[in-house]
């Protein structure tokens, strides 16, 4: 396989703050590569450097053989970008938006018209194409936002948390679109803080935290790093002190990690069944009512917890 994206020691500083600390990774042609990490981990800054919006403080990357530092215009022709925040003209219709952005990517004439029609079909908005974007739902706007990134048929598409803040139905549609694009041969760099999305979509995942790429590999390779651990999720009441419970659970033999997030306590252990009784007893001793219990096979959440000592949504 050929690496269409090659990132070497890419770093970005803002004054004394290091937003990205020299990340290095490759993306193979035709794969979906996810950058998984919590908010503020450096995902958007990394994409912003790769898309030539920000200049790196140090390091470099090549995309399609073009350097982001020395040949940014050539990089821009190769990539498509779907930014995290909507970047559309809300007083224009979807069609007008697509036409304008297509023109900015050097499309014109019949090829532009045909491509706009194709993209409208692809994002399922042909019927609403003549409505102004400001009249759309959040999910529909997200779809137009994606459509703009697809207009010029980029070889590599960067998608920066495209499902944030939308309803489950629209989220499902976007994930299906990502899969379709990949099946058509497009390479994707997808950033998310939703572990489920990274698991569902990615050929490989890079886990990023505090500006550092702390692990990279397929889901199987990553979960092997935490051994054969399972994750026990306790759902507790709203008024219960989940953090105190997590602390108490760390003392149980067999518990590797225990973290509280909102009204859930995640416990990493070798065998969930071995510790279940002790966990329930600890909860009862503290007067905490367990509403439900999930047992999960090793996943990226567990990997993140294992590597950072924190849950992904911290």
């Amino acid at each position: 396989m050929n690496s269409i994206v090659q990132v070497q020691h890419l770093a970005k500083n803002y004054g004394g703050f290091q937003a990205v600390k020299g990340v290095t990774f490759n993306i193979e042609e035709g794969e979906i590569f996810s950058l998984l990490g919590p908010n503020g981990a450096g995902k958007t800054t990394t994409i912003s450097m790769l898309s030539t919006l920000y200049s790196p403080t140090s390091g470099d990357a090549t995309i399609g053989g073009h350097s982001i530092t020395t040949d940014p215009m050539a990089v821009r022709a190769v990539i498509g970008v779907v930014p995290q925040d909507l970047a559309l003209y809300e007083d224009l219709t979807a069609r007008e938006n697509l036409i304008f952005w297509g023109q900015m990517y050097n499309l014109n004439g019949k090829s532009l018209t045909m491509r706009v029609d194709e993209v409208l079909e692809q994002i399922g908005l042909t019927d609403k194409a003549r409505d102004r974007v400001k009249t759309y739902s959040g999910g529909m706007k997200r779809r137009v936002n994606i459509g703009v990134g697809l207009l010029h048929k980029p070889r590599v598409l960067f998608m920066d948390e495209p499902t944030v803040g939308i309803d489950p139905q629209s989220r499902r549609a976007i994930l299906d679109t990502v899969k379709d694009l990949n099946q058509q041969g497009m390479t994707l760099l997808y950033t998310t803080h939703y572990m489920e999305e990274a698991e569902e979509l990615s050929n490989r995942v890079g886990i990023i935290d505090h500006g550092e790429l702390i692990a990279i590999g397929t889901q199987k390779e990553l979960t092997q790093q935490v051994g054969q651990a399972e994750t026990l999720i306790l759902h507790v009441g709203e008024n219960d002190d989940s953090e105190a419970l997590a602390k108490a659970l760390k003392g149980i033999q067999g518990v590797q990690q225990a973290e509280a997030v909102d009204h859930e306590v995640s416990i990493v252990c070798a065998e969930a069944e071995d510790i279940l009784a002790a966990v329930v007893t600890k909860a009862n001793e503290r007067g905490i009512k367990i509403r439900s219990i999930d047992i999960r096979e090793p996943n990226l959440e567990a990997v993140f917890l294992h590597l950072t000592g924190r849950a992904l949504r911290d």
């Binding site: 919006l53 022709a77 003209y89 304008f100 952005w101």
Partner: protein, 422 residues
């Protein structure tokens, strides 16, 4: 270039889809013009404008040029517009103005003609005499700004024609002398001949002004007060439009479309050029729509069409410079909005959109030169009084220089700003 054009067209489209902006760009100046027209009685009868402006002429010169100017105010062509009375006492005439008995007094001082055209015995000093001419005084009534402004415009037109003839005469003599076409001893004779021509031509100035004040079919044109009010309002709200356009640069940054443009294969200069072009297009469209609407609904005659179009483009260019400068100074779209609104009002007042600058203190008149309103209003008044594009060189050059200087300063300031990062 194409992308610059496309970005400009997109901005024009967006501006005309913003209802709030449309109200301020088009409805507000139109309604204000209508309201001021009603207040001034413009719509109360069939008259198309001002008439019988009372003016007092104090001719202490009593020679060729002074008499020519006095005759101009008494000419048949200005009979409907002006109601002149003669006086020999400047102080008494000023008191009449203070008592609101007339719109203005024109005081032609003794020696005015001789300060420009030397007497027969002193013709060798033509050029030195012209260097320090005696000045005509227009003592204006502040409560009748429009009438006083028209009197001032007529006097200015007369003086500019005198000066034009004088300069061309001096230059001609110098060139003839230097090229050896006339010997030095014949200079007084040539000057004598040219002085006679100057007197004749200046007397003919009445004809020149008559010609400028007439329509193609020879009917005399009355100065329409709306020809002052309508451009005044349009120019004031033009400042709103250019600040609205400038605000869109920062708004695009906030809404993420500017970063998206910057990561497309479009250069920063194309993007900035497109934004400037968009401001220019929107301002030009606003002005031309207002001019069209006032012509259609108020039967307002703006004057020479070609001159109007060129002046509009120059005015919008100058104003666009201000829009860019305001944007370069501000940090947020809201700041551009508030600063833009303040500047719109300040320039409106100081630039003569409400009150003729002739009625303003000298300091305000000096300040007005930094406003596009002042220069453009000057041009529109000239056109309404019958001038053509050829008479607009000063305001047009001033507006173009203003726009260019402000644009360069703004580009420098934008370079210091990081427009990419939120």
């Amino acid at each position: 270039m194409l992308k610059t054009f496309l970005i400009g067209i997109k901005d024009l489209r967006l501006a005309f889809r913003d209802r709030a902006a449309l109200i301020l760009m088009l409805a507000a100046p139109f309604v204000l013009t209508l309201g001021l027209g009603l207040v001034t009685g413009r719509f109360s009868n069939n008259s198309s404008g001002l008439s019988d402006i009372p003016v007092i002429i104090v001719n202490l010169d009593n020679e060729q040029l002074g008499n020519a100017l006095a005759d101009l105010f008494h000419s048949a062509e200005l009979a409907d517009l002006m109601e002149p009375t003669a006086s020999s006492d400047p102080e008494a005439a000023r008191q009449l103005i203070d008592q609101d008995k007339a719109a203005a007094v024109v005081i032609i001082p003794e020696g005015f003609t001789r300060s420009i055209i030397p007497a027969a015995g002193d013709r060798a000093n033509l050029t030195t005499a012209a260097a320090d001419p005696v000045k005509i005084e227009v003592y204006a009534n502040p409560s009748r700004p429009t009438g006083a402004g028209i009197v001032k415009a007529i006097v200015d037109e007369f003086l500019s024609r005198v000066e034009e003839n004088l300069i061309s005469g001096s230059v001609s003599i110098t060139q003839l002398l230097m090229s050896g076409r006339i010997p030095p001893d014949q200079v007084p004779t040539v000057i004598a001949h040219m002085s006679e021509n100057l007197q004749t031509h200046t007397t003919d100035n009445a004809l020149a002004i008559q010609m400028n004040s007439s329509t193609a079919d020879g009917e005399a044109v009355k100065f329409d007060i709306l020809a002052y009010l309508a451009p005044g309002m349009a120019l004031m709200f033009l400042i709103y439009t250019v600040s609205y356009g400038g605000r869109s640069i920062l708004a695009e940054k906030t809404q993420g479309t500017l970063p998206r443009l910057l990561i497309s294969p479009t250069s920063p200069s194309q993007i900035l050029g497109g934004k400037v072009f968009g401001i220019f297009l929107t301002g030009a469209a606003q002005m031309l729509i207002l001019i069209g609407a006032s012509s259609l609904f108020f039967q307002l005659k703006w004057g020479d069409l070609f001159g109007v179009v060129v002046l509009v483009l120059a005015a919008v260019f100058g104003a666009t410079g201000w829009g860019m400068f305001i944007t370069a100074l501000a940090r947020t779209p809201a700041q551009v909005g508030s600063v833009g609104s303040a500047i719109m009002l300040i320039f409106g007042i100081m630039g003569g959109s409400f009150i003729s600058l002739d009625q303003m203190p000298a300091a305000v008149q000096a300040f007005s030169k930094i406003t596009p309103n002042s220069w453009a209003l000057d041009g529109f008044t000239t056109l309404a009084l019958g001038g053509t594009l050829a008479d607009l060189s000063t305001p047009i050059l001033a507006l173009l220089a203003m726009g260019m200087i402000l644009f360069l300063v703004s580009v420098f300031m934008f370079g210091k700003k990081n427009l990419v990062q939120k």
